[in-house]
Symmetry: C2
Subunit: 480 residues, 2 copies
């Protein structure tokens, strides 16, 4: 394979082509045969496993328990909550035949599990002592996609969905915000994405929710990606599924429920937050290989550098670093360097015969100003955790600077439309759905969220001039 076949269209030239080519060439995913489905290849799946482990630990540490609910749900279940069925109907995949026969009642492949979990919560909860009930599930879900995009919108995707039941609104809202906090922390500390946590406007709420919260990340094309959502359902699902409990006072009460999810979509966010013209840039916390060692040289010299590379990898692993040796001697060093740059490995160590003689390796970071630096082989394992932590911090700072320089406080329509053409606009809005729709028709921008940390402010709508709602600014942007 020639070098140019491996490269990707520059990000600045065509962001969308860059993304589509990159996810395939970096061997993250491949297209599945059924419309909009995705095959997650080992390199992409390892990213997911590393994210999953971080998220799962936090979910368990906060008292939630994992469980598993069936993939196939009777169609009638979805109909019980009116808004929910309306929201999902056009996206459903339906099993009509099984075991060689037509089914009496079609089964829906779960697009999400609120309904079946609601049904079981009703069975499991009877007393206030059963509350809160804190469940989480890791699962695949199916939503038919007309315009699929790997990781971002696929017919099938992997996710976790938290579902909890509480005695009252206050407890359910605490839970809703706790889940949002976990998402924001994982996005920031693990994926190095400086997300903005906030509430969705009524028009952007989840089907059946009373309040929807989100974390929004800014991609390098200035668009927003919703990377996780947390919903307070009020008593809507409790009413539909009769999720009730007897209070300490002996009264029968409806539960207040929540649900929250983060999915493989997050990996699309990682790619679009950090990647550049050369390819992926992976945060060390998620990189399948944090360090790749490339031994150089032919014949006997190649054998020496390869065995030194393996020895070094062993010491790095013992130091808790995910190290990989690229032993593809049939490929040129230059090809291999480019390949690992494309695949986003944070740190590359080049190990040639002369390096080996002088007891050093050449360290090259995937981003930064330092260029090639010699490092003593003996101290690499001791040094590397710090190098990786610095690189992780650098990515978060870089993404934060990018987000901040592409976000404008706008008080005029002209400033607003300019801002959302390349980034986000922070603006006052009247809160009317019709006004949101007009803004979307004119600029393609939608309200991403009402940031939690926004300052109280009043005034008039940036678009229609009517009095502003929400008591603070709304963040607008074009979105994935």
């Amino acid at each position: 394979m020639a070098r140019d076949e491996r490269g990707v269209t520059p990000q600045s030239e065509d962001f969308s082509a860059w993304y589509n080519e990159l996810v395939a060439k970096a061997q993250l995913v491949d297209r599945g045969p059924a419309k909009g489905t995705m095959i997650i290849r080992p390199y992409g799946y390892r990213l997911w496993e590393l994210l999953q482990a971080e998220l799962d630990r936090r979910i368990k540490d906060t008292g939630h328990e994992n469980a598993y609910f069936p993939l196939l749900i009777p169609e009638s279940y979805l109909r019980r909550e009116a808004e929910h069925v309306e929201g999902f109907s056009p996206e459903l995949a339906v099993v009509t035949h099984a075991g060689g026969k037509e089914l009496d009642e079609p089964l829906v492949v779960r697009p999400t599990s609120e309904t079946i979990i609601g049904e079981m919560m009703a069975k499991w909860i009877s007393s206030h002592r059963d509350l809160p009930l804190l469940l989480n599930q890791w699962a695949n879900v199916v939503r038919w996609e007309l315009r699929p995009r790997m990781f971002l919108r696929t017919t099938e995707f992997l996710w976790q969905e938290g579902h909890t039941a509480h005695a009252d609104e206050a407890d359910a809202m605490r839970e809703t915000m706790l889940a949002l906090d976990i998402y924001a922390e994982v996005a920031r500390d693990i994926a190095a994405i400086p997300v903005v946590p906030g509430e969705k406007t009524p028009g952007e709420r989840f089907a059946g929710a009373v309040r929807t919260f989100t974390i929004e990340g800014m991609m390098r094309d200035g668009k927003a990606l919703q990377a996780g959502t947390s919903h307070y359902m009020g008593t809507n699902f409790a009413k539909a599924f009769e999720i009730q409990y007897t209070s300490e006072a002996g009264r029968l009460e409806l539960c207040h429920t929540t649900s929250w999810g983060m999915s493989t979509r997050m990996l699309g966010g990682v790619i679009m937050t950090h990647g550049d013209d050369k390819g992926l840039v992976l945060p060390p916390m998620l990189a399948p290989h944090q360090v790749v060692i490339v031994p150089i040289g032919r014949g006997e010299q190649g054998e020496h550098t390869l065995s030194a590379a393996r020895e070094l990898a062993g010491r790095l692993k013992a130091a808790g670093v995910r190290a990989h040796v690229d032993d593809r001697a049939q490929l040129s060093p230059g090809f291999r360097f480019n390949d690992w740059e494309l695949r986003g490995v944070p740190v590359r160590l080049e190990l040639g015969p002369r390096d080996l003689e002088s007891g050093t390796a050449v360290m090259v970071k995937r981003l930064g100003e330092e260029g090639k630096q010699p490092v003593p082989l003996a101290s690499v394992p001791e040094l590397m955790p710090g190098v990786l932590a610095d690189f992780q911090a650098f990515l978060l700072e870089r993404a934060t600077a990018f987000r901040d320089s592409h976000t404008s406080r706008t008080d005029t329509w002209e400033a607003f439309s300019q801002a959302v053409a390349t980034g986000w606009a922070s603006a006052l809005h009247c809160g009317e759905a019709a006004c949101e729709d007009e803004i979307k028709a004119k600029t393609a921008a939608t309200p991403r969220c009402i940031p939690l940390d926004g300052e109280p402010e009043s005034g008039s709508c940036v678009h229609c001039g009517a009095p502003a709602a929400y008591g603070k600014r709304v963040l607008f942007g074009r979105a994935y």
Copy 2:
């Protein structure tokens, strides 16, 4: 709830009723709404997660990489391998409608992923350098079940499926046996099930396989459970999906493939290998709670024992022990003791006011002759890992003794039929499918496997008297 409502039908009275009641009362599972589906509750799912972690680690340590392939597979894929489609046709669930329309080609909900993975292997493999390709997937699969049984046969189940491609038969057979070894090790060392590894007779092979290997465990009713299988596919799938590579000599060759799976069925095996009239008995390696501490006493005394229990649980956790405090003060100590016995917790620590005064707890193991033993609170964390390891070893020894005492070498039809009424028969067999069928019709027993470690032996078939096949004895038993 009264005590008798919590108890289960004795195992000796009605094994099947015992099992069905136990899985529900121990809160492992609940029935799903769609036929044969299963809801895995937190206590059951934790068992699965612990098994999964042990298996996943071994799969990764032997060079396999996890990936994820789509749930929905075009119907035409299954038709490409004749035996495969024949084997699965009656069990398929089929999506005919999606996105509000009828699909041009129906999509099958995967019953296993050989076909779609075969299709992708063909795309990814071109040179001998791409081999072996060692993939594994953790996924849900659907096979329509007419006689569902929780964990053992459910319409949807969770499993891992390994799929690998190799340059030749020798390498593929090494892989097939490696996977079988991993399964046998996990069964024995983690689930404390002394399985017999062996090969299936031709009539019991997987649809499309050239050779099928299995691990068979003996349940406490004398029946066999197939707890994991490993298949050598020869070049059958390689032919059907054109999985080919260019050899070092430059020739185009077909790959030899394997597949192997272990599922949530294994949890049914754990329950039926170790459980007794009182309920579950869980091997410490898989127990969600290895130790449950039950604080006793009312009012102020209850507060003291509760806080001492929590302090002890903290020290146990620090020592790597999964400890749980039962703080349900509203329930009597006796009720709680019975509850944890039903749920199979290996070790219970009772902590009453008088125990606390004397600086001890009362230790009760779920099985064994020791009865109640006082143990000094200070040394419990130091002591416990050894107690749990001993209990784990005790369960394996007990199950091995049970299996051996319920397995007979039989050389006459009378001895054979008696043996398979209560256990297994080791017998010579002619290898004819018709003879297998007659044996099954008369006794309900089937050939479970030709044990790998069987001694060479020749002679005549225990049923029909024809010359024996396989060169060694076959293990027969009734099976789940």
